[in-house]
Every structure is written in structure tokens, then in C-alpha cells.
């Protein structure tokens, strides 16, 4: 196991490369998910205020 983490002496290059990739990809994922949810909530609140719109939205979601 220690040998695995040592990466043949290249640990300080290999692991940061994987860490940066994971950080950027997960960052993009959570950021995109959060903004999607925020917009959905705002839209639901806005549509609830306008009954005409709500009926329309119910017909074609």
C-alpha cells in the first residue's frame, strides 16, 4: 500500500495531478447542480405568483 502511494518516487507529481482533476470536475458538477436547483426554486416561486402562468406550466411542463 505504501508503495502504491509512493508512485515509484513520483507521488508529488502524480497525486496533485489527480487531485486537481478531481477538484475541477467536482467543482463544475456541484456549481452546475447548485445553480440548476436555485433557478428551479426561483422559477417555481415566480410561477406560483401568477396563476395563469401556473396553469400554462402545468399543461406543458
Amino acid at each position: 500500500m505504501a508503495a502504491f502511494f509512493a508512485m515509484g518516487g513520483y507521488a508529488r507529481f502524480v497525486w496533485p495531478a489527480y487531485a486537481v482533476a478531481a477538484l475541477v470536475l467536482l467543482g463544475l458538477l456541484f456549481w452546475s447542480l447548485a445553480s440548476y436547483r436555485r433557478i428551479k426554486i426561483e422559477l417555481a416561486a415566480r410561477e406560483a405568483k401568477s396563476p395563469r402562468r401556473r396553469k400554462q406550466a402545468a399543461r406543458n411542463p
Binding site: 502504491f4 508512485m7 515509484g8 518516487g9 513520483y10 507529481f13 502524480v14 496533485p16 495531478a17 489527480y18 486537481v20 482533476a21 475541477v24 470536475l25 467543482g27 463544475l28 458538477l29 452546475s32 447542480l33 445553480s35 440548476y36 433557478i39 428551479k40 426561483e42 422559477l43 415566480r46 410561477e47 401568477s50 402562468r53 406543458n60
Partner: protein
């Protein structure tokens, strides 16, 4: 394609597609990580440092692919005013920038032990840095005008003009002297990379591709909902 022109059709289709893309991304990225870290052998010259390749190369491919998609969608938006085109381009931009960042950082971390330097100003590295700035420029231009449609147009024009950078990236290693190695996968005479290294790389690349597809759909859905919200807020008081 004409059916997709309708944003509400797109919402239905993307809702059906997204879970499959997400599952495929998780599956291929999981398998790819396992193959890259545990199964693939160390390189006979580079030792274990070759494992950086499994994030560096898929990120590099996706960086160019996302740009091609962004520029293509921008062109479609400018020429035919397809309602989804600019949405697709604007959704792809931050993803492409992310892939380019991964490519640059992992490349630097690979360069130091193998070339003895974090960075060289050669054609390949410089053109990929330019790609990163093109993405940032696109995102900045998009938000640079009070009138949204002007920002969209300006960013789309930048994306289309910047497409000239893609062949420069691809052929930079053939046209100029560089420390960067030449193409070893997409070659007319077949891959020159050993199959034991190639398979984990391809699995990882497919994982990156599905990850991109999932987030592209998600971001496009968010952008369309936001447009509906704006129309409700400002269009019909």
C-alpha cells in the same frame, strides 16, 4: 435536429438522456480510475509518472472537443439563429475552461519530472494556454454588455474566430520543435502507444466525454429555465 429546435422538446429529451449520461460517466470514470491506477503497467522509461497521462490526455481531448462544439454552436447561432445554439455554446464554455485547466496543470506536473521544467513557451503549450484564454474571453464577453444579446453575439464571434487555434494545437507538435511528444493515438497508421496503456486511456476518455455530456445537458437546462424566469419577471409584469 429540427425537433430539437424547440426548447420544450429539448427539456423533455434532455431529462430522459441525462440520467443515462450521468450513469455512464460514473461507470467509465470509476473503471478508468481503477485501470489507470491499479491495472496499467508503469512505463518502461517514465515509470509511475506515466499515470498522469490518464487525466492529462482525456482533459486535453475534451478541451479541444468542447471548443469545437462551442464554436460550432456559436456559428449556428450567428447564422441560423437556432434558439438552442447560443445556450449550448454558453453552457460548454466553463466546462471547456475546466478541462483546459486540468490539461495545463497536469501537463506541468508531468513536465517537471520528465522534461526537467514546469513550462516551456513552445507551440503546443502556448497554443493550449491561448485556448484557455479564449474560453475566459468568451465567458467575459458574454457578460460584458448590459444588453445580453450583444454579449452573446460578441462572444459567439470570438468563439468562431478562435477556432483557428484548434488545428494549431493539433499540429503544433509536427510543425515546430517541442519537448512535447507527438500524437500517439489518433494516427493514420494506427496508435503507437502500447495497448496496455491505451485501453485505460480510452476508458478514462469515454468517462470524461460522458461527464461533459451530462454537465452540458444540465447547464443547458438551467440556462433555458433561467430564460423562462427572465421572461416571466421582465416580460409579463
Amino acid at each position: 435536429m429540427p425537433r430539437l429546435a424547440n426548447p420544450s422538446q429539448f427539456m423533455k429529451l434532455s431529462a430522459a438522456l441525462m440520467p443515462w449520461c450521468a450513469a455512464a460517466a460514473a461507470l467509465f470514470l470509476g473503471a478508468g480510475l481503477y485501470l489507470a491506477l491499479f491495472v496499467a503497467p508503469p512505463d518502461y522509461q517514465q515509470g509511475e509518472s506515466v499515470r498522469i497521462m490518464y487525466v492529462h490526455v482525456p482533459a486535453a481531448w475534451l478541451a479541444s472537443l468542447a471548443y469545437a462544439l462551442m464554436a460550432g454552436a456559436s456559428a449556428v447561432g450567428l447564422i441560423w439563429r437556432h434558439p438552442l445554439a447560443h445556450v449550448a455554446a454558453e453552457s460548454a464554455a466553463p466546462l471547456g475552461a475546466g478541462f483546459t485547466l486540468i490539461c495545463l496543470v497536469s501537463g506541468s506536473l508531468w513536465g517537471e519530472p520528465m522534461w526537467g521544467t514546469w513550462w516551456v513557451w513552445d507551440a503546443r503549450l502556448t497554443s493550449v494556454l491561448v485556448l484557455f484564454f479564449l474560453y475566459l474571453g468568451f465567458i467575459a464577453l458574454e457578460h460584458a454588455f448590459d444588453d445580453r444579446s450583444r454579449g452573446t453575439r460578441a462572444a459567439a464571434i470570438l468563439a468562431v474566430v478562435g477556432v483557428i487555434n484548434l488545428p494549431i494545437i493539433k499540429f503544433s507538435v509536427d510543425w515546430w520543435n517541442t519537448l512535447h511528444q507527438k500524437e500517439s493515438v489518433f494516427r493514420l497508421d494506427g496508435p503507437t502507444i502500447a495497448p496496455s496503456l491505451l485501453w485505460p486511456l480510452l476508458v478514462m476518455a469515454v468517462g470524461f466525454l460522458f461527464f461533459f455530456a451530462t454537465l452540458l445537458l444540465l447547464r443547458m437546462r438551467a440556462a433555458l429555465l433561467e430564460a423562462r424566469l427572465r421572461a416571466l419577471t421582465f416580460g409579463n409584469p
